[in-house]
Symmetry: C2
Subunit: 492 residues, 2 copies
């Protein structure tokens, strides 16, 4: 056997004189920039950008390492020409999402209301109906056969959400009981379990989590609902899922990624693009983050990327078992966003909002994504969880055909003739690995949840999944970055 010799440099390890360069092949430095800063931030999504911005405002030096050749993470504008954009990822904000709102305001991005005039569409088994979300059932479709199940489930989940210490659900008095079951277990045990209601539950879970009701822990779900509020407003199912008064209420002028781009402009050369962090070495008085294009030596690090990606970084020393265990059970959802662009928002002419609840796959929920002036019509649908996995396996021409067929069934035959069709399979994005967020199945939060935000030596954790409020949303990302920055500032 050939054994790699244990040289003096390696024995010295992080503590010795050669520490700064330990693990970094000498020749590599000739090609990689070496930078020094108070804090190194990994990831230039909303979490990493917000952390960096807070630190810079407090007079600290920062380097942000970003794997992609762009900023914004799960927020991405596709430019359609003529100033029209389509948001390929995060799109909406709503009441109590005050951090992303403030950030947007500070960088000068305005907002406008999501189009919500007219009726929503409900489709199941080829049967189509329309209804007003101002009606007695709100955004829930007035499907009499399953309304009892809907009302029961929403009521009970909202009640449970009040009993969870939001952000630390493992401390709930019923944590063990709730983390031992899935959302589906709970619903089957607490409603009549009408098969059509279960399909609705699937549509909602696929759009919100990119997973199936049997994949997600009830405790995780209840905390997700509890998180759709702020310090002054308890989270509710309605605030999460509604357009009016809910998380789909408002959009950004120029698209959500514009906020990230403007923050990045402020940060300037502090951001290194195209440079995934590969290794984080903790030194006695600092950290060394080795990325493809730069090696950064800093006092502390903030890792602001999805859990599954943070697990792929090499940590020296290794992470504590509880954090590794959490990361080994914290997958990203599977969500594909399909979007059709039309000459005009033709559904509006028919008195429709563009919002639909569709129980016939692949489309689940749809929303109007047209520009503020309605100069063109853009509608998108969520294809998530199991529906996304079978959809993603079909050839591109078939995917386009079934998506457009879905839009046409919901809004009329004009849906078959878009000027453009776009598809964003976030599951295939190497530097995201799935949308909208990471979730946990049963048994994970009660065992390993406390490792979610707990710093490991000089490494701090951000990312929307770590946020107490609006975890999984842009607002949660901003909150997590600001919180991590405060953690670091207290220790610098």
């Amino acid at each position: 056997m050939v054994d790699r010799p244990i040289t003096r440099r390696r024995l010295l390890g992080a503590a010795g004189a050669g520490a700064l360069l330990a693990g970094v092949p000498a020749g590599a430095l000739a090609r990689r920039t070496v930078r020094h800063a108070d804090v190194v931030v990994v990831g230039a999504g909303f979490a990493g950008l917000s952390a960096a911005r807070e630190l810079v405002r407090s007079g600290r030096s920062v380097v942000v390492l970003e794997a992609r050749h762009r900023v914004g993470g799960r927020a991405l504008n596709a430019e359609l020409g003529g100033g029209v954009i389509s948001e390929r990822g995060a799109t909406f904000i709503g009441p109590t999402q005050n951090r992303i709102r403030r950030l947007a305001k500070e960088v000068g991005v305005g907002t406008f209301p999501t189009y919500d005039e007219g009726d929503d569409v409900y489709l199941h088994d080829g049967k189509r109906s329309t209804y007003s979300d101002r009606g007695p059932t709100g955004t829930a479709p007035p499907d009499l056969e399953i309304l009892g199940d809907i009302a029961t489930a929403v009521y009970k989940i909202d009640q449970m959400a009040r009993q969870v210490p939001v952000g630390s659900p493992w401390k709930a008095s019923k944590a063990a009981e709730w983390d031992a079951q899935t959302l589906k277990d709970f619903v089957l045990a607490n409603t009549d379990g009408n098969p059509r209601f279960i399909r609705l539950l699937e549509v909602v879970t696929r759009a919100a989590v990119g997973a199936e009701p049997q994949d997600v822990s009830l405790l995780w779900t209840v905390n997700f609902i509890a998180a759709s509020g702020d310090e002054h407003h308890a989270g509710t199912f309605e605030r999460n899922f509604n357009t009016r008064g809910g998380a789909q209420q408002t959009r950004f002028r120029g698209g959500s990624q514009r906020v990230a781009k403007l923050v990045a402009r402020e940060l300037g050369d502090r951001i290194v693009l195209g440079s995934p962090a590969r290794r984080i070495t903790q030194l006695p008085h600092g950290v060394l983050v080795s990325s493809d294009a730069a090696v950064v030596h800093a006092k502390r690090a903030i890792v602001a990327i999805p859990p599954v990606l943070s697990a792929e970084i090499v940590y020296e020393p290794a992470l504590p078992a509880s954090r590794e265990d959490l990361l080994a059970r914290f997958p990203q959802g599977t969500l594909t966003k399909v979007t059709a662009v039309y000459d005009r928002p033709f559904w509006r002419d028919k008195g429709l909002t563009g919002t639909a609840v569709c129980l016939d796959p692949p489309l689940g929920a749809t929303f109007d994504d047209s520009p503020e002036d309605g100069s063109v019509g853009i509608v998108f649908g969520f294809v998530g969880g199991a529906a996304a996995r079978s959809f993603n396996r079909r050839p591109p021409s078939e995917r386009r055909a079934v998506a457009l067929e879905g839009f046409s069934k919901l809004f009329g035959s004009e849906g078959l003739h878009p000027t453009r069709y776009l598809e964003s399979n976030w599951r295939k994005q190497k530097w995201t690995r799935g949308c909208p967020l990471a979730y946990t199945g049963p048994g994970t939060l009660t065992k390993f949840g406390p490792a979610l935000r707990k710093p490991v030596g000089r490494i701090h954790w951000a990312g929307t999944e770590t946020s107490v409020f609006w975890s999984g949303y842009m607002d949660g990302a901003v909150r997590s970055g600001e919180r991590a920055a405060r953690e670091v500032l207290r220790r610098l």
Copy 2:
């Protein structure tokens, strides 16, 4: 923002003239060996060693990259002096484990029967009883209050195991139903659910999987049982858990790791130790595996490491979503092996085998691990799952004290006075991440199971978790390596 320039070398990527060195900093090559071979194998546990050995016997050139400074993976001998060893990981083999048996025979390692003369011990709530495993209940403790539950659960699981296409449980006719529940769900629904029986179920699951009954999918469990056989013998619960006639029947002279060391001796300089694989790049006609000490260019690669570690390698291009999704939901068990060494195997003098079933934590199951000649007495206990997590958090002196207290309650006060106490927390082993094997919770196998063994381009997958038979055992590791070697040989 500073964007890493997209140079010609990077654009050429894997397809261009600079392909061999793509992604490898030029200077690094001055320090890292570049090697060429037909096949590169990642991991020198039983799986990787067996794969390499098969390939060499077929006249192919091989390089094996191993992260540790030793071979054997989850098999490790601790030398206690005077030729006495204690196996810190894999220990036993049993009937139908013909591949590890053949391998051992070929490299000249003999076997001897696990000590099994006398009675086993059963302890619950401080109450101790002894019983013969030749009695009417076999290895199950004759606890009348829970015998009905035990018999029912074992009978039903054995019946289900016959209905699973072993190794491909996602193809079972009831796959969806069984993968939607945990082992605990099943047991609660199909037995009287006596609380003491549930504690026994926990002890068994912790020792066998390093997890809790509510963590593992029923489908995964049933396949695990089905796998404890071979082409001619259906797997059964009994063959998995028994000493006599089961997987604990036989031991290796000189310890299990000796087999691995002797295979490694045959392979000689083909093995590079201390060199974890970091990146696997697929080229048009080969693969490039970049590790800490060597860069290997080969026609094909066999990755023979635990799932969670294989997920930490950087793949170019990225792995297919289904394999990434599987790896994101395939955690290692949590198992600590605690061992006490005594002047003599004092329990044998009392007519005891050293085997015990202990419902009072932290110890679960125990076994005699003394050398063949009984010159000293060695007994070990499994501390797994939730019991291991709380145990591992206690300070070392406390851990030692409660473990020895456990041995003394089972075998007598002599247990308090060992000459030596050893502890192996495999969860903390950076290059294993948990023992005895990786498992899946509900919903994973039916969605992503088919990715388990499916080659990705020129990358083939080995490791005991990929084995059809004896998955999770040394035998499964050997089988997986030999199977991967055959896959590669067909394509070279």
